[in-house]
Amino acid sequence: MIQAISVTGLAVFTGFTGLMSLGHAAFIAVGAYTAAICTKTYGLPFIAAIPLAAIMAGLVSLVIGIPTLRAKLRSDYFTIATLGFGEAVRVLLENLSITNGARGLASLTKYSTLPRAAIALAIVVFLAKNFVFSRYGRMAIAIREDHVAAEMAGINLFNVRLRSLFFSAVCAGVGGAFHAHYIAFIQPNMFTNVQSTLLTASVVAGGIGSLTGPVIAALLFASIPELLRAAEMWRLVVYGGVLVAIMVLRPQGIFGYREINHLFRRKRPAVVAEAAGSSADGGDDS
């Protein structure tokens, strides 16, 4: 559930701008630490810590986003840059005193209850949906589809990509805040590149260019290891196996370029109906 909050953000970024990030655990970490420090050190209520965590993660995303996106790095170089960034943030957390170094922050209050996480996920998905199906999402998709044509349509690649990255980092920050107050204890080594890779795996398996797909994949993936907890050692093997199977059977992901409600209809319904001149409105608030 908590993982799904972060995955939603990453789904917006990777799925709708076409850039792959392997450093998103860093944004979760920033959110987790910010929220933890807010509640533990400053005694702020959890509800106030969440937006602060979100904003902090967003600001940190600008640190990596501005130089790399301005340089218009090729997408594979961008991915490598995020990988390095993820490590850098982790090392930083290990060496700062406010984060209590490698020992981390312990005995946090367990504010993250299931209903609260569910509400947060619903809000994040709602915002992500609005983002993706707005002019901002459309510009991001245009860049994903053909960045030369997008630029020739007057779209500023840097602005759009940075905005998407910021949005996804904010989601990850919220996810981090919930994560910290769920397990009540955080350490830098919880936020490794393996974590980032698992997030990206959810997006890819759920379907690039879809929102509901990655969210469902994240929920599934989060439950698989839980179910297999007994067979600790086989957990990641099964996990990897599932991923490989998805990639082979459905390379576009479970819901590639589609939303779950679209599976039951032929084409993009709202657009087609109105394009045909019918005034029938609505039916597209999924």
Binding site: F131, E145, E151, M152, N156, K267, A275
Partner: protein, 265 residues
């Protein structure tokens, strides 16, 4: 105010040793239809790429009106009133035909901001965002109508046959409300009849939208019918320029074309 919609001066481009363009100078007069012709590899598309900021020239300058736009990025040049189509079609493939045009409308019609997009789009608050999106779709439809593909609005862009994809590119370029429209081989793959239909469409578009057109084409009948002024390139250099009549009688042009063994491309 300059009489020229655009001009290029001594434009040159060197791709790691390949001189794709060298000492190219021409003017595009306001509201005229001008053609660039020449064999494959002559450097025609390169000129478009230099004019639209896809990459910077290694020499020379590009002007729009009186303004030097040589070093500007594509999205900035678009804002100054230049739009184009691509020889190797570049649509937003997985978007619908209509959405391709809507995307381009954003430049001149950014109808709502990020806050409204994120928070105002509630099912029970069918306000500004919904209305704006509807307006954009209606407007986009009118551009599809212009090029004659309105009935395909809901189809995925890459499902159209190539000829129609080129028309969709034209609709998308027009939606940017350009002053100067660059068309890179708009009639590629069309038979003579279709290409003359397209010629009439381009003529109509030029009048109705009051634009200046610069086009690259191999169909000589289309070029001779449409263009007031023709620029001929060969091996990255100017071979000739002038009126259609002058070009048809120019010995250098005849030699280049006949020497290559091609009648009319």
């Amino acid at each position: 105010m300059s009489d020229y919609a655009a001009r290029v001066e001594n434009l040159g481009k060197n791709f790691g040793g390949i001189l794709a363009a060298e000492e190219i100078t021409f003017q595009v007069r306001e509201k005229e239809i001008m053609g660039i012709i020449g064999p494959n590899g002559a450097g025609k598309t390169t000129i478009f790429n230099l004019m639209t900021g896809v990459y910077p020239p290694t020499a020379g300058k590009v002007f729009l009106g009186d303004e030097d736009v040589t070093k500007l990025a594509p999205d900035v040049i678009v804002k100054k009133g230049v739009s184009r189509t691509f020889q190797n079609i570049r649509l937003f493939k997985r978007l619908t035909v209509l959405e391709n045009v809507v995307t381009a409308l954003d430049l001149n019609y950014p109808l709502y901001n990020i806050g409204e997009a994120l928070f105002l789009n509630l099912p029970f608050l069918k306000g500004k965002v919904k209305r704006a999106e509807k307006d954009l779709r209606d407007k986009a439809m009118s551009y599809l109508d212009t090029v004659g593909i309105a009935h395909l609005a809901g189809n995925q862009a890459d499902s159209l046959p190539y000829g129609l994809q080129r028309k969709l590119e034209m609709a998308r370029a027009l939606a940017l409300e350009p002053k100067l429209l660059l068309l890179d081989e708009p009639a590629a793959g069309m038979n003579p009849e279709e290409s003359m239909d397209l010629a009439r469409l381009i003529q109509k578009v030029q009048k109705d939208f009051d634009v200046t057109v610069l086009l690259i084409e191999h169909h000589m009948d289309l070029v001779m019918y449409l263009c007031h002024h023709i620029f001929v390139m060969n091996f990255g250099r100017e071979l000739a320029q002038g009126s259609p009549e002058e070009i048809q009688e120019n010995p250098a042009v005849l030699k280049a074309y006949l020497g290559e063994g091609r009648s009319n491309g």
